[in-house]
């Protein structure tokens, strides 16, 4: 006698917005604790991981499995602790989006879900019982759930805008690009340049951090090329070059444009959440009387071993009356720079997931006068990390279309640089 191969239910269902807030939830099984959705916020919505495995739509956190599907700016999430039929769960989530669309004039977005939450709860009552999918056919459901979906006022506007856009496309007016450009070799370069800033307290908690990013493109392309750029949507506060079709970005999250010739700044962005700080530092400075100071600085890199930082400079402040310093280093070179009132520790290359230490003993010139206590300015770091992005932004694809369909060489480079990267001591 054999038992069934997999479970036919989902334990809980959530609608979650792009910030990770729960819009709608129904918990069907006792084994689903109420805080499980927060793991989703931490590991999926706010995650900066960009490798394929951590983007997969079926994942396990703790002893619960999470299946999710993204539609517009809403995540539909099913959680289960059994060996559920994942294909059924996914297909169900997809049908659910269709169902809400059928009730709401084809619309589905965070605004629509919020605006129709009573209707959606009522629908959920029929489409899932004890976590088992029941009836999801809109035609059947409309025979006994009569509520009308509420439609956003933006819809009407959007449709008008779309038609206006269409006329623009028909007339083909692209003011920022000359016709008849010709290149022997068609090439496009895209640089992702990020500046990461941080302020850390002496206790090691991050007080402030942000990443300012720029995408700079150099396009040497013949004719009237259409470019599509796919980014993972981890960005807040994005601004675009005027050539970018904003409507398409809002609808499909695709950066679509006809590029100007040569170099231009395609977009800028800023983010403050989910940043992986490339370096962590700990500084210990002890004053021994008036004439001596012991300094220990430990710097640890958190980026993967495959990449490395270059031109790393750590500036450790010391009092103005410093006479000399002697060092003990695990790597790099260090000296005392009287102009900057700091110990300057330079490392040409800093590998990923590595740790280096500076230990210095500093001698001070003893003065007769009573001096005011040392103000302890923050420790600062400068660095560059090629092929790394601290915000987790990722160029997923870069596609060029042109009617003569020529071959294009594409180059994407990334670099992270230090902005104001400081640590209080």
């Amino acid at each position: 006698m054999a038992l069934p191969s997999c479970n036919e239910s989902l334990g809980a269902l959530y609608f979650i917005n792009g910030r990770g807030d729960v819009l709608i939830q129904r918990i069907y099984r006792d084994d689903i604790e109420r805080n499980l959705a927060s793991a989703f916020r931490a590991h999926v919505v706010n995650s900066r991981e960009t490798d394929a495995a951590s983007l997969a739509p079926v994942r396990q956190f703790g002893d619960a499995s999470y299946c999710y599907l993204r539609a517009s700016n809403v995540y539909l999430l099913a959680i289960t602790k059994r060996n559920s039929n994942a294909m059924m769960v996914m297909q169900f989530l997809s049908r659910l989006v269709d169902l809400v669309r059928a009730y709401c004039n084809g619309e589905f977005s965070e605004e629509v879900v919020k605006g129709n939450f009573v209707l959606i709860y009522e629908l959920l009552d029929e489409v899932l019982d004890h976590g088992y999918p029941q009836v999801t056919d809109p035609a059947v459901l409309k025979s006994f759930i009569f509520q009308k979906g509420w439609v956003t006022p933006a819809t009407k506007k959007k449709r008008e805008a779309e038609s206006a856009n269409a006329t623009l496309q028909v007339t083909g007016a692209v003011g920022w690009r000359k016709d008849n450009l010709r290149y022997k070799k068609n090439e496009v370069f895209l640089d992702v340049v990020e500046t990461v800033s941080m302020l850390m307290s002496a206790q090691g908690s991050v007080l402030r951090c942000d990443v300012q990013g720029r995408l700079v493109m150099k396009a040497f392309l013949s004719g009237m090329p259409d470019i599509k750029l796919g980014l993972n949507d981890k960005l807040e506060d994005v601004t675009f070059h005027p050539c970018v079709n904003l409507g398409r970005f809002n609808a499909e999250k695709v950066v679509s444009f006809v590029p100007p010739d040569g170099e231009f700044e395609l977009m800028k962005y800023r983010c403050t959440e989910g940043i992986t700080l490339p370096f962590k530092a700990v500084a210990l400075i002890t004053e021994h009387g008036r004439t001596r100071l012991d300094v220990t600085v430990k710097v640890k890199s958190t980026f993967p071993t495959k990449i490395f930082a270059t031109n790393v400079v750590v500036l450790v402040p010391v009092p103005d009356q410093t006479a000399r310093a002697s060092f003990n280093l695990t790597a790099g070179k260090a000296k005392y720079d009287p102009k900057r009132h700091a110990l300057v520790w330079k490392l040409k290359k800093f590998a990923g997931e590595a740790e280096h230490t500076l230990a210095a003993s500093v001698e001070l010139i003893s003065t007769v006068r009573e001096r005011k206590p040392w103000s302890r300015p923050p420790l600062a770091m400068n660095f560059q990390i090629p092929m790394h992005s601290c915000s987790g932004v990722k160029v997923q694809y870069l596609k060029v279309w042109e009617k003569s369909s020529y071959k294009v060489d594409k180059w994407v480079r990334k670099i992270s640089k230090s902005g104001d990267y400081t640590l209080r001591i």
């Binding site: 006698m1 054999a2 038992l3 069934p4 191969s5 997999c6 036919e8 239910s9 729960v22 709608i24 939830q25 006792d30 960009t50 490798d51 394929a52 983007l55 739509p57 079926v58 396990q60 002893d63 499995s65 299946c67 599907l69 602790k81 060996n83 559920s84 039929n85 994942a86 294909m87 059924m88 996914m90 297909q91 169900f92 997809s94 919020k114 605006g115 129709n116 939450f117 009573v118 009552d125 019982d129 004890h130 088992y132 999918p133 029941q134 999801t136 509520q147 509420w150 895209l190 695709v254 071993t305 290359k349 590998a351 092929m387 997923q396 694809y397 870069l398 060489d409 180059w411 994407v412």
Partner: protein
Amino acid sequence: MSDGRYFSTTKKGEIHELKVELGAVDKSKKKDAVKKVIAAMTVGKDVSSLFPDVINQMQTDDMELKKLVYLYLINYAKTQPDLAIMAVNTFVKDSQDPNPLIRALAVRTMGCIRVDKITEYLCDPLHRCLKDEDPYVRKTAAVCVAKLYDINAELVEDRGFLDMLKDLLGDANPMVVANAVAALSEIQELAGKPVLDLSQGTVAKLLRALNECTEWGQVFILDSVVAYTPGDARDAEGVVERVLPRLQHANAAVVLSAIKVILKNMRYITDEGMKSTLQRKLAPPLVTLLGAEPELQYVALRNISLIIQANPGVLSNDVKVFFCKYNDPSYVKMEKLDIMTRLVDEKNIDQVLLEFKEYATEVDVDFVRRAVRAIGHCAVTIQAAAERCINVLLELIQTKVNYVVQEAIVVIKDIFRRYPNRYESIIGTLCDCLESLDEPEAKASMVWIIGEYAERIDNADELLEQFLESFPEETAGVQLALVTATVKLFLKKPTEKPQQLIQLVLTYATQETDNPDLRDRAYIYWRLLSTDPEAAKDVVLAERPTISGGQEGVDPALLQELLGELGSLASVYHKPAASFVSKLRLAVHRADDLAAAAARASGSGDSEALTSAVVAEPPTARSAGATPTAAAAAAAPAPVPDLLGDLLDLDVPAPTTAAAPAFAAPAAASAMPAELPVVFGEDKGKGVVVCAALARGPDGSYAYELAVTNAAVGAPLDGLMIQFNKNSLGLAPANQAVAMQPVLPGTTESARVPMVHAPQMAAPEQGTLLQVALKTNQTGVLYINDNIPQALVAPPQQQPSTDPMAFF
């Protein structure tokens, strides 16, 4: 009007305000207030204090309002069990309402209120609803039985609901049948014993209902029918014939579950012609699955990978459909790439290679790297195409894109291992891009190539010297490669420069480093070189076995298990369900399961098979031809094994002939010490208590002593078998079958299982953990987490010496 406004009340005193509004006379105002309460509940505010006020709204003709109140009730009944009783009367009344929607709503909601007191009142309405004239009510009642079983299993059995549920399998309405199947499957899972009796007659009934079911009902039925074992080939053909039309269904889950049933029954079909026809019919629906949303595609691709591992023929002509689209999400691209490398053969290699080359010029770095690896894989597996693959790799190296070059060098090293002395002419090209190498793996590969072919590279010493300049800063892997390469260079060209280099590198590696591996290896080389350079030559420059290019796949035993669970989470993770389903109430079903579980546990190194606690990280996948692995050496025993390969294996007991079983016969039951610790208690719910411990006899041999008590299994326990997961002592039972008297209910029997050393069972990383699987014919498999007693942790004296110096 949008409901969005209900979310925007965040001011203080909100609860009080809502209370007032709920008491209003105006109906629409009341309803608005309830909506606000639900909105607050959704965003996580505690509105349980409004319980009586909300429940007061229950008696209403407004369906929408009623449903909202019920929603509230389901959420908070547990926190207010006494007040929840207030609602019972309304439920009972509603369950007799003339409107079937209201009857169903009442019984559905009551089942969701998990308060003991309410379940007593639930029985009568449920009884009525199971026999209701309206199928909508019956299908809701069927699910309600499963809900009730979860709260109070005894009640369900006492009141005969289980039998009523079984009767519904023959209901005229297919949706009722489908829900009854789902409910019975769930009860079966909870009970851990067969409940859904899949006789030939039942299966025929279920398959008849299949045609008219909702799409979800079809999934329920197909997933339960897969457990049915056909009586003979004709029976199997009959099932397949019924299921075959489902392949055209628009629902991906229906299609995949249908494929699962067909694959299972195909095994019982004897007509080869029919089999191959069926195999051909499976391809188009699998391809259609790739037209869905990316999330569904992902699940489909993970399953397709399993299907083609078991039946490589199914999609052998369809490699093209797995070509990546530029805007596929990366998780889809990676899976497609994996499947393409499984489907590539001599016929399609040219097409696939062109495709891989295209991917290698994309912009997603991870994807590009995988594409380069895939090209290397093709070269290693398809001999006829090796040259074409190498040409593509050389073209890619010409692009000078840093990460492409590095990845290409890593795979070229594998190609050199696979086809020695054939493609060395390209070494010159490789040496040109030396400066751009900055990743450890690429560096180590390049260093290996230089050392291996030192005699053909004129300036090998200069090249190595370049690398040696940064020796102290390199990772351990690169340092080890450098030490070995320098030794090779010295043995091949014992001139002045290499001599200097070897002095330098050995001095550093023995004196300045903290890494014991590096130091040990350097010492071995040093002694070897100073004692007998000729012997050193024999060891270091010995011919290595060529590597084969087999692709990592799922372990065969696990693969069979997963094929029976296609579509499930297990099939997506490629892991056994027991490894991630926390409630180990999963009853084990196949007779060969113990063996399968044991093979899995020892074969894949996946210790999660036996416990949800992750104990050891699974060994990293060995790419085809990293430094010589034990596996490669075992597959093709070389006359002189590579010194390094041997050294890597030194930390596990060297292979020996398994010690002879030390115990002639199991000791008599009465001789057993009574004070064995309990390792599997009654709390596990199997009705069996197992006390056991590992012991060591006076002669140094091991035995596993155990006592099995039949606490609550109605029949005598017999057919006891035992298996061990890998453990730090490398122990395995001398015999899987345990000689023990059948354990009568209420009694205890003991046994002593002699253990032997088995090198393949050694897993030092397991520490003191000892994972044991026991099986009896009555209980299925019991998984036990035991510990190796402290006194026995030290290795026994008779173990072969593992001192590396003993070799010299």
